[in-house]
Symmetry: none
Subunit: 441 residues, 2 copies
Amino acid sequence: MEDGERGEGKALRKSDFEGGEMTPETAPHVGGSLLTIGDEILLGDILNTNAHHIAVALRANGFRLERVITVEDREEAIAAALQQLLPVSAFLIVTGGLGPTDDDRTKEAVARAFSLPLAVDPSDLERLKERTRTTGTPWNHRIQRLAELPRGATKMAPGRPMAGFFLEHQGVPCYFLPGVPYEMETLLDDIVLPDLKRRFPHRPVTRKRILRVQEMMEAEINQRLQGFDPVETGVVLGYLPQVGENWVTLLAVGRSEAEVAEALDKAEARVTALLGGEHVSGRDDESLEVVVGRLLKEKGWMLAVAESCTGGLLARRITRVPGASDYFERGYVTYSNRAKEELLGVPPEILAAHGAVSEAVCRAMAEGARDKAGVEAALAVTGIAGPTGGSLEKPVGTVFVGCAAGDRTVVKRCLFHGSRERIQQQSAHAALTLLWRRLKP
Amino acid sequence: MEDGERGEGKALRKSDFEGGEMTPETAPHVGGSLLTIGDEILLGDILNTNAHHIAVALRANGFRLERVITVEDREEAIAAALQQLLPVSAFLIVTGGLGPTDDDRTKEAVARAFSLPLAVDPSDLERLKERTRTTGTPWNHRIQRLAELPRGATKMAPGRPMAGFFLEHQGVPCYFLPGVPYEMETLLDDIVLPDLKRRFPHRPVTRKRILRVQEMMEAEINQRLQGFDPVETGVVLGYLPQVGENWVTLLAVGRSEAEVAEALDKAEARVTALLGGEHVSGRDDESLEVVVGRLLKEKGWMLAVAESCTGGLLARRITRVPGASDYFERGYVTYSNRAKEELLGVPPEILAAHGAVSEAVCRAMAEGARDKAGVEAALAVTGIAGPTGGSLEKPVGTVFVGCAAGDRTVVKRCLFHGSRERIQQQSAHAALTLLWRRLKP
């Protein structure tokens, strides 16, 4: 196979975009690979946030990241990964292993994998010597290594101290970036993405939309969406279960932003209809607390919450949203029975008769919070988050959520499973769902 | 190559552990691979937290994760990765693609990669039919798919609804886990790790200890720990800055738990001394809220909190700890000035004179919470979390934290930087630090 042929083979031509259907499966796309190098990832010291950042940036620019490989800081491991990725990639991005220390082996691995001996870049060497002179740093072989590059490679930012170099091998553009997130992100934006766009001018526009679905199981959602036709709509569905809600993702690919936006809108309308409109609470970043906040503001209502087993989590989710003070008045974390009586006016006899975790107490908490705070709407949560405190008729995970709004109070009994943390999260979400139901038009 | 040979070839023998130095770098190891499947990772919708969780768990149990590959939900892509990982892995863990939906392709990929046709497990099918009968779910081919497995594979948790199966192929144990973090983590702990330990009895003991350091900058910590000698102690130090505190990690490898524990204890004593004892608040999972809770219990004190800009986060951190009801009485989320007056008795004239974000109001909130709740100790937080609401003399990030315990009240003014979320987190942490200082012997 001739040099260059691969790269061109992967590049898209204008003709690829003329006529014919274009779906996420069938659309022509420029598919690249990412190699992230670093023991700290494999040892679990850090999350691979570089991979996430690069994935987001590539998608936003119409490229597809087809695979990510993470290997240790070992020359053989890096070289093997490079040899394996090159033939299957339209482009290759590599992060890490470019520093001056002995466990930075990327350059040596490239030299080995692609049989391109390391050579010192004279002008770069001069710059380094100059800098050490001005900073008074004593010269050593580590600094010398910074000026070495595999034959044919070019430094990305000659002016700047950051590492990072480019190499086209067998027609595949390869971008080698430092592992330090800030430096990686700068070179990605300033050099890698512009160069990729120049090399691959014809790319599909790829956009994804998330629909947040409340009060419906994943299997049920999947069942109802059988009627959805990806071919007819040109949109592919995905499912991402979250704590308390489910996400349906819509992925569309097209020739223009307008075309893709139209396809997504059509698909969203179809999905919403199939699920029965009242189950979709928001899109993308519109969490339930954001949507509820907007609805409260529209109504001009103020909100108070009274929580027991969620211990502040419900108020915390609401006040996480900037501007929450426009509609959130106060929260009561009534962890003890005394607090429930003193702050919310829950009658001791109700506590005695039904216990703190009961429909009656939850109702009294919600109405007490509404009246004591003098607000239009209040939420209440009382339950057993565990790990202990459960009983036969009220096992761990038994939670009552209540919503007192205007002169109407609704209380719901739930049974959640999992860890204390999970039960607390699900409880807070269930309370927000009650309020959302009450507020939505 | 004979079946089984691979697996044995990767296993360590007792002799590997006889004599010689053993450092985190030089220790013999059992190296495995992880394959994470999911478009949502490659599209940048989610961070690959499963990979991180598995990396941590493997290291904690003396295994080494040598590589991670992430591929799309495509049968060919998954199959290719499986074929490529099998020969180089002592064990293989795969996450994702096991659900009931159409974009779950892992089983099909395994069947293709290892030439093991899918077959229905009759007993599993019975269980599923039973469950659908009891839950009244209409039967469909998707549920049927849940009972299919590649020939020779066994379901991991037959009793439980979770997906997940095991397969030994060419001597390499392969564990297929669901992508839903909660389910993945459960099966990893209950089934995968115990089975790995049984199969690979000889492995170095690797232990990491985290020391949580309060009120000291990373650079300062770094400076003070120059005197620490890794060679003499056989322990390697690492630094992980967190929100509000810094972690110093101690990594040790040895032949026995006793050997490693001794090395870590020595190293911990040395680090603590170099930092000046009073800065280390706890180890590993001993978060500040856990330590503070234990100290409150020892003293027999009850705690109340009054929060403004943290909006419930402080109470939430405290009540995240199981058994918090033993020492946490209540929390006031006094978001509005009215709430500060009505619930905590903050004098309106103080609010008018100094503003809600002030030393005087913070003090009044802390003492008000202590007295109104009738408890021994109270914390208060008031500040500007942003993104708006800052001024010249009180910019966004200005936060007052106060602690009223017994007859003593301490108030501290802080200036935090970053997002609203970050400022809220740092504020809650600063309040807990005040209480920790007050309580510690």
